[in-house]
């Protein structure tokens, strides 16, 4: 709808076609998104597997911190990656000490590196959810049949991956298609131009709405194709119901596998936490000096995050329910696709729609919450749809024979069994909404600034140190929300 509104205004203004540079941007966008998504998922699988079959002190903290890179403001993530991989970064210092020539982060590989940094942890979290859906009883059965790691993988883990990975790949692919500030900064220049940058330029610099809408529609269409193709590949896992016990893993006790898992977890932690640690540690010294405006903005972000989380989970539950019904595929595609909608076009569309009826500026925070619901929906659906499918397959007939419908069904059957994925979805939405900058920048009045916006304001006023402190507050806030929601979901499940 907002996209249509931009398109309508665009048609009214002028019409221009695609330029040769747009095709180059399109090729680059799709290429980097496919590579980024593939690498993110490929690296996430061993890490998720290691986390799924090992229990050690600090595991909970690691799983929680995996949520952090995804919600980092772009500018903070870029500075963090540069602190590790840049010209004067830790990696090049180490290489220099060994007498090896420095490597440059800037180029297409830098873009992929950044996208993997953002999305690999997300993929790990989502795949880990998948591992949690394999009932403990199946693992016991596997153990009593003396399954080794290979059989366990082939008969239990592979079908699970087959069910969840295509959807996760699609979501990450789509996120990477709408990236541009990161792609530009680490891509090193105009060769790393994405479609989203062209949209931004068309809208903000040239105010060519027809071009912005055309490019936005193109991006959306490609996203739709990708989503359809990937969802065709996904198969339900069909493990049947279990008693929700934590699975003990008898198949992976060998020292070789232990070392392999330890390495996977260690490497992931180093890759993800070092860039964040370097930047946030600088901020820690300045947190106490932060002015009141920053804390007020943090409070606003908190309310926004909670609102978006509740709304997203309610909507996602309804949609997941529809998906498992007849003709549900289209609902799933629509829900996944919203991530491919350019946030800029979405925001502008809402602005155009609201303008005749109300003052969009007065509605800045509700509109931001709404856009975040739309943007978080695909993640919530990725967590809830597989769980809802299993729920229908395992308990659908029983519920039907008992005549459980509507609210009773929701209370007695769905909620108790969906709490864990719903808690995850709520936590993720809250974290995302707290870190969102996209739409608020278009609408905000000065007294409505959210924490990410304040962070940019600080940077724009040369106050880099305070901005890093604000980033630390933002990460703490987002992770705190994530932790609370997840904990709520987990406690209810045991």
């Amino acid at each position: 709808m907002p996209l249509l509104a931009v398109g309508w205004r665009g048609l009214a203004e002028a019409t221009t076609g695609l330029r040769p540079a747009d095709w180059a941007a399109l090729r680059f966008t799709l290429g980097q998104a496919a590579v980024s998504a593939a690498i993110s998922v490929a690296l996430a699988i061993p890490v998720a597997r290691a986390l799924a079959r090992r229990h050690f002190p600090g595991r909970g903290a690691i799983v929680l911190l995996l949520g952090a890179p995804f919600i980092l403001p772009v500018i903070v993530a870029v500075l963090g990656l540069v602190a590790v991989f840049g010209r004067g970064g830790v990696v090049n210092d180490a290489l220099g000490a060994l007498g090896i020539e420095a490597v440059s982060i800037y180029g297409p590989h830098g873009v992929v590196l950044a996208h993997v940094f953002f999305n690999m942890p997300l993929a790990t979290r989502l795949i880990l959810q998948g591992w949690a859906t394999i009932p403990g009883e199946r693992m016991r059965l596997a153990a009593s049949l003396s399954f080794g790691p290979a059989e366990t993988f082939r008969l239990l883990e592979w079908p699970m991956l087959r069910a969840v990975v295509p959807g996760i790949f699609t979501v990450i692919f789509l996120i990477c298609t709408t990236s541009f500030a990161v792609a530009l900064a680490l891509g090193g220049g105009p060769r790393a131009t994405t479609v989203e940058l062209a949209i931004y330029q068309a809208f903000r610099f040239d105010f060519d709405l027809s071009r912005a809408a055309l490019l936005g529609a193109l991006q959306l269409a490609l996203g739709a194709l990708a989503a359809l193709a990937a969802l065709r590949l996904s198969l339900p896992s069909g493990f049947g119901a279990g008693l929700d016990r934590v699975a003990q893993r008898w198949d992976s006790a060998s020292p070789g596998l232990r070392i392999q898992d330890a390495l996977a977890i260690l490497a992931a932690c180093l890759f993800l936490l070092l860039p964040m640690g370097l930047i946030l540690a600088e901020g820690a010294r300045h947190v106490v000096d932060l002015p009141g405006a920053v804390w007020a903005a943090a409070a606003r972000s908190l309310v926004l995050a909670l609102t978006a989380a509740v709304a997203t989970v309610a909507l996602a539950l309804a949609m997941a329910h529809a998906v498992t019904g007849q003709k549900g595929g289209w609902v799933e595609v629509a829900g996944t696709l919203s991530i491919a909608a350019s946030p800029l076009v979405l925001g502008t569309g809402l602005y155009i729609l609201l303008l005749p009826v109300a003052n969009p500026v007065a509605l800045a925070l509700p509109v931001t919450a709404f856009v975040n619901v739309v943007l978080a929906l695909p993640f919530a659906l990725r967590a809830l749809i597989p769980a809802m499918r299993d729920l229908q397959a395992d308990y659908g007939q029983l519920s039907a024979s008992l005549g459980l419908t509507g609210l009773t069904w929701l209370r007695l059957v769905a909620l108790p069994r969906l709490r864990r994925p719903a808690g995850f979805a709520a936590g993720l939405t809250a974290a995302l909404a707290a870190g969102d900058l996209g739409v608020i920048a278009l609408f905000a009045a000065p007294d409505q600034a959210t924490l990410p916006l304040v962070l940019y304001q600080l940077m724009g006023a040369y106050r880099m140190e305070e901005a890093k402190a604000a980033a630390l507050v933002l990460v703490a806030l987002s992770l705190g929300l994530f932790w609370l929601f997840e904990r709520g979901g987990r406690h209810a499940a045991t």
């Binding site: 540069v82 220049g189 060769r191 105010f207 405006a293 009045a445 106050r463």
Partner: protein
């Protein structure tokens, strides 16, 4: 019920009795750390009225809203965007008599009133790069070990100023100049903040910013190691302006605000509020430290019309030069 809602909506839609003056401003201007709040306080005391900022991308928002815009005054449009703003037909004449400007260029625009300006410049850290290039031509030919962060002219006003600067200095050779710069340009960022953050974190030797940037480090941080590199070819000047919306429902207050802009009360907030040079302020009234900042001798600028006409060419030269 329905009628109650309708009544409520009508009430909301009706202008309040003493409606505050609505000023559209870029986000950095009106933020807690920009000059906006101090200017608001000074103006409200001066006129005994109220004003509010609405922040965001000023020009795109104006174009979206057209004649329905809620703005009375717009502040923060720079000269390179002025022609596009004028072409919206939304602006009235600023109606302020201009004399005694402390700017290196003459001003004749009667739609947009200048309030501050800066030279575009490359900033270096004297401890890391003691011998910077001596001229723009020298920079183009400089050793490719040099690393620079710039802003993208397609997404940022300072980036656009650089593209126009290159065009002004190198003319038809702009693309070749960009190709010469290419190996030294470590990266191109969406906006100023990312580039500047890379510079202060030590990732690049030089960054595209303004001649006034060293003043911040000197005055706020007591750090004299950040210096602008001055080129004899001259430096492109970026002037920020304000304008009045023709359809304003508060023409008197709007005019009062524009009249306020070139007064000392407003102008003295600019140096340390916007880290920029005031359009009209007696040099003796400048804060200590600002007068120590070296400025280039030659100021370059395109008029609003010229900037608009050359814009696509300048950006095309950037894209082609860096893609070579």
């Amino acid at each position: 019920m329905k009628s109650t809602i309708a009544t409520a909506l009508t009430l909301i839609a009706m202008p309040a009795f003493a409606e505050p003056l609505t000023v559209y401003a870029p986000d950095y201007f009106a933020s807690e750390w920009g000059p906006g709040p101090a200017i608001e306080a000074a103006f409200e005391a001066h006129c005994g009225c109220e004003m509010d900022y609405v922040t965001g991308d000023v020009l795109p928002r104006l174009r979206l809203e057209g004649t329905r815009t809620g703005a009375d005054v717009v502040i923060g449009l720079n000269t390179d965007d002025a022609q596009r703003a004028r072409d919206t037909g939304l602006f009235a004449s600023h109606g302020v008599e201009i004399d005694g400007l402390t700017m290196p260029i003459a001003w004749s625009d009667d739609t947009f009133l200048p309030f501050n300006w800066s030279h575009t410049a490359f900033i270096h850290d004297t401890t890391r790069l003691p011998d910077p290039p001596a001229s723009f031509a020298d920079l183009v030919a400089f050793d490719s070990d040099l690393s620079i962060a710039i802003q993208d002219p397609r997404t940022s006003v300072s980036g656009l100023a650089l593209a126009l600067w290159v065009k002004k200095v190198f003319g038809d050779e702009a693309e070749a100049a960009w190709a010469g710069l290419a190996p030294k340009i470590t990266t191109v960022t969406q906006g100023w903040s990312e580039s500047y953050g890379l510079f202060t974190d030590g990732e690049v030797d030089m960054v595209l910013s303004y001649t006034t940037s060293p003043a911040y480090h000197l005055i706020a941080e007591g750090d004299a190691t950040k210096q602008a590199v001055l080129f004899p070819e001259g430096h492109y000047v970026m002037v920020e302006t304000a304008g009045m919306i023709a359809g304003t429902d508060q023409p008197e207050q709007a005019q009062a605000f524009l009249n306020f802009i070139l007064t000392e009360d407003f102008q003295s907030i600019i140096p340390e509020g916007n880290w920029s040079l005031p359009a009209k302020l007696d040099p003796t009234k400048m804060p200590e430290g600002f007068s120590d900042i070296p400025l280039p001798e030659t100021a370059l600028i395109y008029s609003a019309e010229e900037a608009e006409a050359l814009r696509s060419d300048a950006i095309a030269a950037f894209e082609a030069g860096l893609r070579r």
